[in-house]
Amino acid sequence: MFSISQNADGVVALTGRFDASQVDTAREVLDGITSSCTLDFSGLAYIASAGLGVLFAAQKRLVDSGQGLTLANLNPHIREIFHIAGFEHIFEIR
C-alpha cells in the first residue's frame, strides 16, 4: 500500500511501498508542488527506479525554477539506493 499527501505545513509524506505501479499516484501530487518543500520518507519502506524517476522529474522541474525538494528520514535501505544512484548529488537529504 502506498500513499502520498501534503499536510498543512507543506510537508509531503510518503508511506508504504513506492513501486512501479504507484507512479501515477505519486506524480499527481508531485506535479502540484510549485515551491521548495520537504518530502518526509519516515513512513516509506521501499522505492525502486520507477519511483526515483518520478522524484527526479519533480526535482528537475523545481530546480529549473529556482526551487527544490529536501528529502528527510530515509530508512537505511532507501538511503543505500539513493547513494548507489548518485541521488545525493541531486537532492538535499537530511
Binding site: 511501498r17 513501486d19 512501479a20 505501479s21 521501499y46 525502486a48 527506479s49 520507477a50 526515483l52 524517476g53 527526479f56 526535482q59 528537475k60 530546480v63 535501505h77 539506493i81 548507489i84 544512484a85 548518485g86 548529488h89 541531486i90
Partner: protein, 160 residues
C-alpha cells in the same frame, strides 16, 4: 566472482538448464505492472520461509521489480505470463525470470548511468539495470532463438 562492491558485473551466458534444475519456488505472473503486488507477495513468502534478512529482502524486491517491469515494458508482443523462479543455497539467493515469445534483449548492453554528476548532467534511462548490476553478484542472460525465450538469472549474496 564479481561482488557489488567491485562494480557492476558483466552479464554472462547461462548454461543449458535453468528453472528445471531449481528446487525452490516458481510461479507465473501476468505480464502487467499491476502484477507487482502478487510478485512481492511471492517474494515475501519465500523470504519469510527461508529467513532472509531485511537488506537481502529489499535487494531482491528491487532486482525483481526492475527486471519484471523491463520485460513488461520492452518485450512487446511477448507471451501472457512471465515466470519467476526463486532458490537459494547457504550463501546466495538465486532469482530467475523467463519471458517467452520475445526478441532478445541483453541487459549487459545497457550503458552504465553516470551517477557522479549533478542534476543537469543526468540523462533518462538505464537506472534500473544499473541498480540491479550494483546490488547483485552475478547477472546471466540466455536467449533461445528457436523458442524465442529469454532467461535472466541473478545471484545475490545473503547478508551475514
Amino acid at each position: 566472482m564479481n561482488r557489488a562492491a567491485d562494480g557492476a558485473p558483466p552479464c554472462q551466458r547461462l548454461p543449458a538448464g535453468g528453472l528445471a534444475k531449481m528446487s525452490g519456488a516458481r510461479r507465473k505472473f501476468p505480464r502487467r505492472i499491476e502484477a507487482l503486488e502478487e510478485v512481492f507477495a511471492f517474494l515475501q513468502d519465500f523470504a519469510a520461509e527461508h529467513g532472509f534478512g531485511e537488506r537481502t529482502f529489499y535487494a531482491i524486491n528491487l532486482v525483481v521489480e526492475e527486471l519484471f517491469t523491463n520485460m513488461v515494458r520492452h518485450n512487446i508482443g511477448g507471451g501472457d505470463h512471465i515466470i519467476l523462479g526463486l532458490d537459494h543455497d547457504d550463501e546466495q539467493v538465486h532469482l530467475e525470470l523467463v519471458d517467452l515469445d520475445v526478441e532478445p534483449f541483453d541487459p549487459a548492453t545497457v550503458a552504465d548511468v553516470a551517477v557522479d554528476g549533478g542534476i543537469d548532467s543526468r540523462r533518462p534511462g538505464g537506472l534500473g539495470v544499473y541498480l540491479v548490476k550494483k546490488l547483485v553478484d552475478d547477472v546471466a542472460y540466455d536467449y533461445d532463438a528457436a523458442e524465442r525465450r529469454m532467461r535472466i538469472s541473478v545471484k545475490k549474496s545473503l547478508e551475514q
